[in-house]
């Protein structure tokens, strides 16, 4: 071992040895939470992680504004094309280029955000309402009911999520709302498991015991004590599922089970652009990049919410 290596080893020893106990305690505390692997280490190493979160929030707000006021951001119509300007590469006038019928891609992306966002919102709501209801009920029921409910949830986990949503799509038919509901069902199991474990965890704490001992009834205690203390973890999961839902909805749209063709939907737009891969890269690449950024931002925000919960 050379002197340099020794020094490096010693340095590592100090850095790891110095922080190890605290680090491990915090790690142990965070073990049941599988959603934030790199977030914490980034903060440790860089020291100013807020920038990523702030950028994510700004980006998400921008996309929400696209959905609410699309005409502010783009002068072009998303459906009616101008044949004279077909297949143009990205330029100042058309930042995302135009497609084969001369439609401005940027305006299609902007107008399409409402489909993706509202779809993801429906999906998360479906998963949240059904999943949390099952989870809270299971967590606060007796052992037998709890076991039965959670085994049913396990069954939903056993079916791959895409196949589960396809089974629901085949039942409900094609369309934006149908795709959103189908995606929502895939997150029921995650919400149920999380809310159950949170209820069980909070239920075992001294203050809940005290609340019951001082005469609290079941539902008020659930509302006053259990719910606020579980909210953070559930919110973090909801943000994560939002990103996942955007991804899944665009996948269903790409496969042709979502919105019908003239609709500007992100997944469908990529599917349509696929026929022009050789000549017009912007038709697929740019809408896809928007999807990636939205999902990435939602995951970052989710990690930030989860991290805040661990500190306080």
């Amino acid at each position: 071992m050379s002197i340099d290596e020794r020094e490096a080893a010693a340095e590592r020893e100090i850095s790891v040895g110095g922080t190890a106990p605290a680090e491990r305690d915090e790690r142990a505390a965070r073990l049941p939470d599988p959603f934030t692997p790199q977030r914490r280490s980034l903060r440790e190493r860089i020291g100013r992680p807020r920038i990523a979160v702030v950028l994510s929030v700004v980006w998400l707000i921008l996309v929400v504004l696209w959905a609410l006021f699309p005409s502010v951001f783009t002068p072009f119509d998303p459906i009616a094309g101008n044949a004279a300007e077909a297949q143009q590469a990205p330029s100042l006038a058309h930042p995302f280029g135009t497609d084969a019928t001369g439609r401005d891609m940027f305006s299609r992306v902007v107008y399409g955000s409402i489909n993706s966002l509202s779809g993801a919102l429906i999906a998360v709501s479906v998963g949240f309402v059904i999943g949390t209801a099952i989870g809270v009920f299971a967590g606060s029921s007796r052992r037998l009911v709890d076991d039965i409910l959670m085994r049913i949830v396990d069954v939903f986990l056993a079916i791959p999520s895409l196949l589960l949503s396809l089974s629901i799509i085949i039942l409900l038919g094609f369309g934006t709302a149908q795709a959103a509901i189908a995606v929502g069902f895939t997150s029921v199991a995650a919400f149920a498991r999380l809310s159950r474990s949170e209820v069980v965890r909070v239920r075992g704490t001294d203050y809940v015991e005290a609340a019951f001992a001082s005469g609290g009834r079941f539902l008020p205690v659930l509302w006053r004590h259990v719910l606020p203390n579980s909210l953070n973890a559930v919110l973090a999961l909801a943000a994560l599922q939002f990103g996942t839902a955007v991804l899944s909805i665009s996948t269903l749209g790409f496969l042709g089970y979502g919105a019908p063709p003239p609709t500007p939907e992100w997944g469908l737009m990529i599917a349509e652009g696929r026929n022009y891969v050789a000549t017009a890269w912007w038709l697929t690449t740019l809408p896809g990049a928007v999807v990636v950024l939205v999902v990435l931002s939602a995951n970052r925000v989710s990690a930030a919410i989860a991290a805040r919960g661990r500190i306080s």
Binding site: E13, I46, A158, T251, V277, W281
Partner: protein
């Protein structure tokens, strides 16, 4: 032994329940695929003929009888008939399963290599300054839509660089891009869990002891950390299988490959419920079997979980649901 039997029983129960759920969703609900196909006025079938057809498909018997019939059929390997083509579903599946198995196996192996590579790069003693770049790769991979990745890869490698022909690629050339497309999203959760467990293991006291005795970082990483850190990744096997199936549906559609995924997508488009039912059940079976094997093997692989502590094996399992 009692534990093994109990686990087997539990797995069988989950499978039966999965069958029931899938049956209720796909067969018992009102949207009747046979009616959709044969009530089409172009076919000019009389109501009597439709009734006869329904009888031939067994759609007129009461639900409990249908349920029992399908259940017995599935146990015996008979998955019924495709509504669109009339071919036995078993035959349709047998044609496409090998192709998908090759794709999935190669995709999985590449994903593991990719994940291990990322983990090593993220922990290399010499690369600590840029370790964060590698640490953030998995979260980027998770956010990338599989179908988009496939198209971008075609764009770059087939059209820009002209490395892989689009039309009639050789059997091996034709597999490169689909395997890569499938591997990237699968590698993300593996890399995440590997990086995290390496971090965990590095914090254990025994690592400090080894280091104090003069071991260099490489030695620690390979001899002490790697063995301990790989174990938690095994618990993800079932979830990864589900992602492989979902990924195969999309990858095969993007690259126009025949396979289980393509069959699934076509079945959904044509509302061919028997095919979807069979695929859903086969995947659920595979998921349950994989989890069973992992649960039974874990105590063998990890000596810390001896027979007395087996009861705790099931508890710390994480099942993260990541849809594709």
């Amino acid at each position: 032994m009692r534990y093994v039997l109990g686990r087997l029983g539990q797995a069988a129960a989950v499978l039966l329940a999965a069958f029931t759920v899938a049956f209720i969703l796909l067969q018992a609900m009102p949207g009747d695929a046979i009616m959709i196909k044969f009530e089409n006025p172009e076919l000019g079938l009389s109501p009597d003929q439709i009734a006869a057809l329904r009888q031939a498909y067994g759609a007129d018997t009461p639900l409990p009888a249908q349920y029992l019939h399908s259940l017995l059929g599935f146990l015996g390997g008979d998955f019924g008939y495709s509504i669109q083509s009339g071919t036995p579903v078993r035959q349709l599946l047998a044609e496409v399963v090998p192709g998908t198995l090759i794709l999935a196996a190669l995709g999985f192996v590449s994903a593991v290599i990719l994940a291990v590579g990322i983990t090593i790069l993220a922990n290399l003693p010499g690369l600590r300054r840029i370790a964060d770049v590698f640490r953030s790769l998995p979260s980027l991979f998770v956010a990338v839509p599989v179908f988009w990745l496939g198209i971008v890869l075609i764009q770059v490698f087939s059209f820009q660089l002209r490395l892989i022909p689009v039309i009639n690629p050789g059997p091996i050339e034709g597999l490169i891009l689909p395997v890569l497309t499938l591997a990237v999203p699968i590698s993300a959760p593996i890399a995440q869990i590997l990086i995290r467990s390496v971090d965990d293991v590095l914090g254990y006291p025994f690592v400090a002891v080894v280091r104090a005795r003069g071991a260099d970082p490489w030695w620690i990483l390979w001899r002490n950390v790697a063995r301990n850190a790989v174990l938690p990744a095994f618990t993800m096997a079932g979830v990864l299988f589900g992602e492989l199936i979902g990924g195969a549906v999309v990858t095969e559609t993007v690259f126009g490959r025949a396979g289980v995924g393509r069959l699934t997508a076509d079945a959904v488009t044509q509302q061919d419920t028997p095919i979807l039912l069979a695929i859903v059940l086969l995947s659920a079976t595979a998921f349950v079997v994989i989890n069973l094997v992992v649960d039974l093997l874990y105590p063998v692989l990890d000596p810390r979980l001896g027979p007395r502590r087996r009861a705790r094996v099931a508890a710390p399992r994480e099942r993260k649901v990541v849809s594709v």
